[in-house]
Subunit: 210 residues, 2 copies
DNA sequence: GTCTATACGCTGATAGAC
DNA sequence: GTCTATCAGCGTATAGAC
């Protein structure tokens, strides 16, 4: 399960050390509250080295963005490549996102806030980037296959993934105290069955669709 | 309908001019890419005046945050004070949020991203702030009243409001091109009925619950 | 209370030795 | 490719006149 592989910080190539150090610092203090010197110290590299590899602080942020985006995309692609229904694919993506929110907190945090922080002015917003497009495509295919209820594509995608993304935000902000994985089954059931009291909870019977 | 009242920029008291100018600049360029001089010029005030009123750039951001938070809270309180069911209250809040996303874009944007931008380090994250708590309370009451399906409070709140908030983000990022108000009815239906294809669309028959 | 002019620290970036 | 030393500019904040 090599989704979003973690780079071991010691004895990695220089550019990897820089990126991992920068990731942690950016997420903890925020991009603008981190100086190149901070990254340099934290990564045990010289300033010159940083400028040689990435051309500056913004260069680091961009490289980080592209790198994580690519891994995210690969994760989605792997889910797509498996033989699953569209609904199962949606569920699996949510399960993976929850899992990585717990185990790779900073990666998820950086990706979710990348555009809203003020670096990367020329980059397209993350929600229009290709992994998110792929997620919307999955929902689209589900609608065409009759697995997901008919409707406007944006609304469908937002309804399927909106609750999960919201919970990730709440968890990252420390508002939700328990691991997200505890909430997975019930959330999945809410997504598909809705919040109407007439719809009976089903999640106790259809556990672990993943 | 005085929710989140707009302050007319001309001939307002000085501190109001500063706040409205700062709001626009902060949202457009990002907090850290705006200097005090920028605010000063845009508001037609002197730097000294800014420091007299707010004590610095962070002071402006905080005052703005508290001011908007208070108005947001009043909006929620007004909805609560009306004689509505919990579900209608949820719907109305979503309708209002959509409306203000279209008409007061910068206010919504600032509030949504306030914590994720790097100012206000000591402030509690916005999702744990009182208006958001009030929204979760409404959901809770709906569950107790049997209007909303039983379940874990966080999941219930995230499912009810998550899709809407997600769409607001997509709209603010320019990914969704149409006004959000166009999507209101169908989204509401998805929230309560779920994405299961067996649930029939109802929104054509129960329009304008607000 | 409002303004202008000024100070000074920090930070991104470069030069040049090794 | 890596490092240290150094620079230049920006941006916050203050001092002090009005």
């Amino acid at each position: 399960m090599p989704y979003l592989k973690k780079s071991t910080p010691e004895k990695e190539p220089v550019d990897c050390r820089i990126l991992t150090a920068a990731l942690d610092l950016f997420v903890e203090r925020g991009f603008h509250n981190v100086s190149v010197h901070d990254v340099q110290k934290s990564a045990n590299v010289s300033i010159g080295s940083i400028y040689n590899h990435f051309g500056g602080k913004e260069g680091i942020a961009k490289a980080l963005y592209y790198h994580l985006m690519k891994e995210f995309e690969e994760m989605i692609d792997e889910v797509i490549s498996e033989d699953l229904t569209s609904r199962e694919r949606c569920n699996k993506i949510i399960a993976l996102l929850f899992e990585y929110t717990e185990t790779r907190r900073n990666i998820i945090s950086y990706m979710l806030h990348a555009k809203h922080r003020e670096f990367l002015p020329d980059e397209p917003p993350i929600c229009s980037s290709s992994p998110f497009k792929a997620m919307r495509n999955i929902v689209q295919q589900g609608i065409q296959a009759g697995e997901i209820r008919q409707g406007e594509p944006w609304i469908a995608a937002a309804t399927v993934f909106g609750g999960a993304i919201r919970m990730i935000h709440l968890r990252l902000d420390g508002v939700i105290k328990e691991p997200l994985t505890n909430y997975y089954d019930e959330l999945i059931d809410c997504i598909w069955s809705g919040m109407n009291p007439e719809t009976l909870p089903e999640y106790s019977t259809q556990r672990s669709v993943v």
